[in-house]
């Protein structure tokens, strides 16, 4: 890794503050780094033992440097010491006094932390001061802010309250007087929009690198969009594979003749089918987690349910996927399309009645079937000739995608919900989390426009016939992307 020779080449920002204020957490969330071997985050004070440089790079070119620092250990004593180096003058100490302090105490063990964190500031780094305003204001905080003010660097205060509460007015007033800008950023729950806002704040405290910071922000925006497109692509592939998936089991002569045995086999087949679908969904979600650089979100492997959705429960089919009326309209549209094809092939002799009747049939079918429990598509076929492995094998059961029109929408809803749950997870957290479908108020897919639902429905129909309409893929991707951008 090549590093710039001088701090001036790349805008640099030092993350400072008292020990255990969450400096490293803030940085971990900002840089999307949840690996403890890179950025150690814990409740133990002093995890950051030295200053560490972290570069945000674009195509291997460093754009911004963040410096994680150990944190103030003895701010009041350090402040008094700096004042001593400044002398009796009535003016406030400045960079010179701080430089003197650093030079002197580099040789001693007395102020190791202060020396480490002040050095980058003297070299021109901007200041990002992390504070938890749930703590009462103490002299030590005042001392920290004074020292930072003496550096003469542009300063941004970031309120990282580790428990939910509003900052006191006293804190707000104090921070307002010491810092150029004050922002709130919860390292354990910050979203992309909040990270984006914090990065934009850097523009206001580093005027000499405005273009470079703007470029960084623009690149992050483009990259975020690309991640969304990539995720949508994977979700589309998941749906494609799931809708075309089928499983087969051979039935022995005894199974064929015995209804109980046949029933048991069918139940096992259904279970196997859903297990496979669940695995596909998990694989899809794992890929999305990698895209978004999440390593601490776990996927529950042995869940009974399809990501928490109970396919057998009637509530599932009313709460998830499209609403009955939406399904009805979508079914009507595909029925009309099928009827329209009849009109075309009769060269208009049916005078559009094909489309009309097709639409009505589609409406009726979907209306009565749409809200019902999954109607499994199970067929029994004879095994003939060489395909039969023994005389005992007579027939085979084949299970395909359930005929219920809402099934694909439920799959889509499920993975989109997982996606949004993942977005809420900040990288600054170090606990592992299992994401399963939660109780949510409304289905995501119901927010699609009529045109989007229509395009997706047509594509679903083509996938179920094992002839995916590739020309519809861009529209389907667009619809999925719109689901991923819902806030």
């Amino acid at each position: 890794m090549t590093q710039p020779q001088q701090a001036n080449d790349v805008p640099s920002f030092a993350i400072v503050g008292k020990v255990n204020m969450g400096k490293t957490s803030v940085l971990a969330t900002l840089l999307e780094q949840d690996d403890n071997s890179v950025l150690r985050v814990s409740n133990t004070p002093g995890e950051t033992t030295h200053c560490q440089d972290h570069f945000l790079k674009l195509n291997e070119n460093p754009l911004i440097r963040f410096i994680d620092t150990p944190g103030f250990a003895r701010p009041i004593d350090a402040m008094l010491e700096i004042k001593k180096f400044h002398g009796e003058s009535e003016s406030s100490p400045g960079k010179a006094a701080i430089q003197h302090f650093i030079t002197h105490h580099k040789k001693t063990d007395e102020f190791i932390d202060e020396v480490l964190l002040l050095e980058p500031l003297i070299n021109g780094a901007g200041i990002i001061y992390i504070i938890d305003t749930n703590h009462p204001i103490r002299d030590s905080y005042i001392a920290e802010m004074e020292i930072l003010r003496w550096t003469g660097c542009q300063r941004l205060a970031v309120i990282n309250n580790q428990s939910a509460s509003d900052s006191s007015s006293e804190w707000k007033s104090k921070l307002g007087s010491y810092f150029n800008l004050v922002r709130t950023f919860n390292a354990h729950s910050a979203t992309y929009e909040e990270r984006h806002k914090l990065l934009k704040s850097l523009l206001e405290i580093d005027e000499s690198h405005v273009e470079q910071i703007k470029k960084t922000i623009s690149s992050i925006e483009t990259e975020w969009q690309s991640r969304r497109e990539n995720s949508a692509e994977h979700i589309l592939n998941f749906l494609l594979e799931s809708l075309g998936h089928h499983e087969t089991v051979s039935l022995s002569r005894r199974d064929c003749e015995n209804e109980n045995r046949r029933g048991k086999t069918i139940e096992e087949l259904k279970k196997s089918y859903f297990t496979t679908i669940r695995k596909k969904q998990n694989q899809c979600f794992e890929t999305i987690l990698k895209i978004y650089k999440h390593n601490l979100i776990e996927i529950k492997e042995n869940a009974e349910l399809l990501s928490g959705i109970d396919i057998e429960a009637e509530e599932t089919w009313t709460k998830w996927g499209l609403s009955r009326s939406q399904l009805t309209i979508a079914g009507g549209l595909t029925g009309a399309a099928a009827g329209g094809a009849i009109d075309l092939t009769t060269a208009g002799a049916t005078h559009g009645l094909g489309a009309l009747f097709g639409g009505i049939a589609g409406l009726a079918t979907t209306y009565f079937k749409g809200g019902s429990l999954p109607n499994f598509n199970i067929t029994l076929e004879d095994i003939t000739g060489d395909k039969a492995h023994s005389d005992n094998e007579q027939r085979k059961l084949i299970i395909k995608s359930p005929e219920n029109e809402n099934f694909p929408w439920i799959l889509l809803d499920s993975i989109v919900e997982q996606y949004h749950a993942m977005l809420k997870r900040a990288h600054g957290r170090r606990d592992t989390q299992q994401i399963t479908s939660s109780q949510k108020n409304e289905s995501y897919v119901r927010k699609l426009t009529v045109q989007q639902r229509s395009a997706v429905t047509k594509w679903i129909v083509s996938c179920k016939k094992n002839k995916p309409d590739y020309e519809l893929e861009p529209k389907v991707l667009e619809a999925i992307e719109s689901l991923l951008t819902i806030s």
Binding site: H54, I76, D77, R138, T222, E233
Partner: protein, 471 residues
């Protein structure tokens, strides 16, 4: 730049397949080649940028090939087209010669017009109907065609070329090309027929006749046929058969030995003009429509399939990543003598005072041989500094020196820090013990050995001169 040909699409699909994993190479092409091209034209639409960008990518990737992958495809197409052209011309010309009754050098008008005009239109309408009816369905004849294509595809495709069934971007232009080629060969057939009829008219004295079992309205029937066929040139009055002309060539009315040159000439021109107008010219029009359709298809190729999207995403997305200048603060923490000190309790002290990060605690100098061995193996493998946690009351110089020597055996330069603990660790040792240890360590006179006594850490907020009110 930006206009795609069929050859380009074949080459493109080959390269997309061949370079599907070369992210680094793609990024280099993007930054060195595509970006400069697109920066010169900032106002382009996204689709246009994509088309130009992918074309530039293709142009660069093709430099890795000695010959373009499409070359042997196109030469195969050309060879087949050439053979078919000869075949269809011979068919057309040969049909005219074959239809002639060589005994009296005569042509049955119905058969002549049927083969030269009706047959081609019937085939055209038939294949169009089949195409429309089977669109989107697996019609057995189209399945046969696809099977044939796949069969030859396997034989002639390069090793790294994807399966035809997955190449939707190629299927559309190939279908248009097929249509265009079929029209061309139909045109060649029609030209063959036309040249054939011209040949026999100018070099053989041929007669044309018609015959019918029914005597009824056949003349009227033929009059309507000839009127219809001669519509485009009826205005000139030239070569437009009349009622009497039709009657004259009825086989029952004249013997073929009775010739009337003027009427024969009229019928000859009529046949030539009919073939030209109703066979050649429409075929030429369809051929031109096919050409325009192919060009339009190529010009509007979207590249919206999954592998195209992935490629464009690789090319258009800049890679944001973070790099970390990590300072190694790892340490080998050893509980010397088995004081029972826990990692969670001693770690904060080690972090804050020694600026080292212990991730686990080892044991040495105990009766547990396996633990001792584990520690020694770790010391052999690692080069990190060592911290010995020693109970100050267990001051045994020879024993401790022996452990220090063990560490230095693996690496003489290892920094070793002795952390003195009180009993019931971690607790602070007494000053007397600290002094005792300090004297002994000083006597060792080894700059790599340090002594630190454990101190309980102050809560973070408490500092000297701190107060609750801001000063």
């Amino acid at each position: 730049m930006g206009k795609w040909t069929l050859a380009d699409i074949i080459d493109f699909e080959t390269c997309v397949h061949h370079y599907s994993d070369d992210l680094k190479g793609d990024k280099l092409i993007e930054s060195n080649i595509i970006r400069p091209v697109l920066e010169k034209q900032p106002k382009l639409s996204t689709k246009k940028k994509k088309s130009i960008g992918l074309k530039a990518w293709l142009k660069h990737r093709l430099k890795d090939f000695d010959t373009r992958p499409s070359t042997h495809w196109l030469s195969a197409f050309s060879s087949v087209n050439f053979l078919l052209a000869i075949t269809f011309f011979n068919l057309g010309f040969g049909s005219i010669l074959g239809l002639m009754n060589w005994q009296d050098k005569s042509y049955n008008l119905a058969i002549l017009l049927g083969v030269t005009i009706l047959l081609t239109w019937a085939l055209f309408l038939f294949s169009t109907t089949i195409y429309l009816l089977s669109k989107g369905k697996s019609h057995p004849w189209f399945s046969l065609l696809t099977t044939l294509i796949n069969h030859f595809w396997k034989k002639i495709k390069p090793a790294d070329f994807p399966h035809y069934g997955t190449l939707h971007s190629l299927q559309k232009p190939l279908k248009k090309q097929l249509f265009k080629s079929l029209q061309m060969h139909s045109l060649i057939y029609s030209i063959g027929c036309l040249l054939g009829i011209i040949f026999v008219i100018f070099f053989l004295e041929v007669q044309i006749y018609w015959e019918a079992t029914l005597t009824g309205n056949m003349t009227e029937f033929w009059l309507s046929i000839t009127n219809f066929l001669s519509l485009p040139w009826q205005w000139s009055g030239f070569a437009v058969p009349t009622h009497s002309d039709i009657e004259h060539i009825r086989l029952s009315d004249f013997s073929l030995s009775s010739k009337k040159p003027k009427i024969a000439e009229k019928w000859a021109y009529f046949c030539m003009l009919s073939i030209l107008t109703w066979s050649c010219i429409p075929r030429l029009l369809f051929y031109l429509i096919g050409s325009i359709s192919l060009k339009t298809t190529l010009a509007t190729t979207q590249f919206e399939e999954a592998r195209h999207r992935q490629l464009w995403r690789r090319l258009s997305t800049e890679i944001m990543e973070t790099s970390h200048d990590k300072k190694d603060d790892s340490v080998t923490l050893i509980d010397l003598g088995g004081s029972g000190v826990q990692l969670e309790t001693i770690r904060p002290f080690i972090l804050q005072k020694l600026r080292l990060n212990p991730e686990q605690i080892f044991t040495l100098g105990t009766l547990d041989a396996s633990k001792n061995q584990l520690t020694e193996e770790h010391l052999r493998e690692t080069k990190s500094p060592v911290v010995f946690c020693c109970e100050a009351t267990e001051f045994s110089p020879k024993s401790i020196k022996a452990q220090i020597d063990k560490v230095q055996l693996f690496n003489k330069e290892t920094q070793i820090t002795l952390v003195l603990l009180g009993t019931n660790s971690p607790s602070e040792p007494s000053q007397v013990l600290i002094d005792q240890w300090t004297t002994w360590v000083d006597q060792l006179a080894d700059p790599n050995i340090h002594l630190v006594s454990y101190k309980k850490l102050q809560p973070i907020e408490k500092n000297t001169n701190d107060s609750t009110t801001a000063s």
